[in-house]
Symmetry: C2
Subunit: 328 residues, 2 copies
């Protein structure tokens, strides 16, 4: 049986992670990487994989089973998601929460017209965390769900600091508050404010002669990003930033506690991730759902789907018989 | 829209848990409980629910959407599983691991002939733990999965102690070794023996004048059950057993760690449960899968399925639109 032929659309951190994930899955092969840059300037690691321009995608129609869309959710995916879904099965990690219904509808229309399967919002949040919220709430109908993120880098918050006058570079870690997690794990269903749940740790490289006190104030009082949190600002050198903060770790916790029966029996369901590399893990989730999209497409399905619609067996390289015998 | 009409087959700990779980799910109602005892001797808590003998099941055909089979896996389910599946949609928590393929085949044949949907081996292990093993392995293809159980009561081990001469009553707790969990969480993929992973704590009520030293020896050296574990035996009174050990707590951990990319980035995925009542939690899982069986049956499907085959959205009372907007 032939391998599942993967295309990568966008060769940033996630795209490079997808390339690595394909290499670790024996039933897949990378056929092509599509980039907005000059393809001559993009060197991929996979022998035999083509590098093509975005505009050349149609030249590979029929040669790629699933396109993994690795663009950003703000401006990129809303355009290319429906566009590519018209001609290929797709997987993406669209994560602008408020716009998911609209994005789903647009991709669904396009995928149905093209007879393709598109699984949207795949990754760990949205993605594995969403699944765990759903499973836990379906089991413990009366209860409370809590999501904690981190410790991990938030690109949005790091960018916000970098826009402050006098800041040369910066990185921001979202850190869950250990005491809050402890309370949640106790099953007491505490009421927690934004400030109770997460801290924000900022490492800032200031420009020569910049007013550090002003920078620290600007960070800590920034509306939406920092003002509702306990925030620490630590000034470091560019060398320290490169040496100690160049990885992209992340992770977090989804915890639901709830009650069953008539004697008030309590239960706690917890799912957690501790990730050395956020983009590589996200890419690994994308690739397992690419397998599901491929199988559903072969079975004649079409349209947009989310992780909620995908039977878990579709993600595995194992057959249903092997799964029941070895893993159930 | 009418409620999903549930039947309970077998009114033990799990059956009573299912009754409570139905009461906590607004889209369901309990229609009948089927028992092998004299129905006149069985009082259920749900107003309006019938109590009938096992042999009267067919009298309710067409009046029950899903039968939840709450019998034991050793002798009960292998017989009634295929039998009931011929006439009703069913859910069960069949957990004799080695016999799952055979049981699946028998139920599948019967359910297909009857045009019904049967979801087997539902609960937390097999069940939610199986799902988490599958998801984690599909994402982190290179890695190691560890399952720890407890702290919780093992009925099989408690029964084994009760069969020892001079033992009046006993309860056995399976306890995961904290140091082993710590090693696994570090991502180092340790090799762990049976003894490394779990302890066995036994609380024993001895008969008057029994040889306690002989009992302790008999427990600790019992093949398969205790000889491969570090086991503690504590003698207590019948009153202490009732006062301190009458609950049925359980829980455990599924942890997978693995590597991605080409720089050796490590990731740890952990799922854990802390349950006050093993049967009530199991029953809550059964009931969420009863909803899925009902929906699949309405959609025209038939045959045996496991949790691996069920798209998560089918478990929830929420619509796909609500799920995407609120939970993704």
């Amino acid at each position: 049986m032939g391998k599942i032929r993967i295309g990568i659309v966008g060769y940033g951190n996630i795209g490079r992670g997808v390339e690595q994930a394909v290499a670790r899955n024996e039933d897949m092969e990378l056929k092509a990487v599509f980039t907005r840059r000059d393809p001559a300037d993009v060197a991929v690691k996979t022998q035999g994989a083509a590098v093509k321009h975005f505009d050349d995608m149609m030249s590979m129609k029929g040669e790629i089973d699933v396109m993994v869309l690795c663009g950003g959710s703000a401006t990129d995916l809303p355009v290319i998601g429906p566009e590519v879904a018209a001609n290929f099965n797709t997987i993406d990690s669209f994560d602008t929460h408020a716009k998911i219904p609209e994005y789903f509808a647009n991709v669904d229309k396009s995928a149905k017209e093209g007879g393709n399967v598109s699984i949207i919002s795949v990754g760990w949040d949205p993605g594995m965390f969403s699944l765990n919220r759903l499973y836990a709430e379906s089991i413990l109908v009366q209860g409370s769900t809590y999501t904690f993120w981190g410790k991990g880098v938030s690109q949005g918050h790091s960018d916000a600091i970098r826009r402050i006058k006098g800041v040369k570079n910066a990185i921001q870690y979202t850190v869950p508050v250990e005491e809050a997690i402890k309370q949640v794990r106790s099953g007491n269903e505490p009421k927690l404010t934004t400030r109770d749940k997460h801290l924000r740790e900022c490492y800032v490289v200031a420009e020569d002669g910049a007013d550090r006190e002003a920078i620290e104030q600007a960070v800590k009082t920034m509306p939406n990003y920092f003002d509702e949190y306990d925030t620490t600002v630590t000034f470091i050198t560019e060398e320290e930033l490169k040496a100690d903060h160049s990885k992209m770790p992340h992770g977090g916790f989804v915890i639901r506690s709830g009650e069953t029966g008539c004697e008030g029996n309590k239960h706690v369901i917890e799912y957690s991730l501790k990730l050395d590399s956020n983009p590589e893990f996200t890419a690994s989730v994308l690739i397992s759902y690419a397998r599901a999209a491929y199988r559903l497409s072969k079975a004649g399905e079409s349209g947009a789907k989310s992780v909620f619609d995908i039977a878990p067996a579709l993600l595995s390289q194992k057959t249903p018989e092997e799964l029941r015998a070895q893993m159930l």
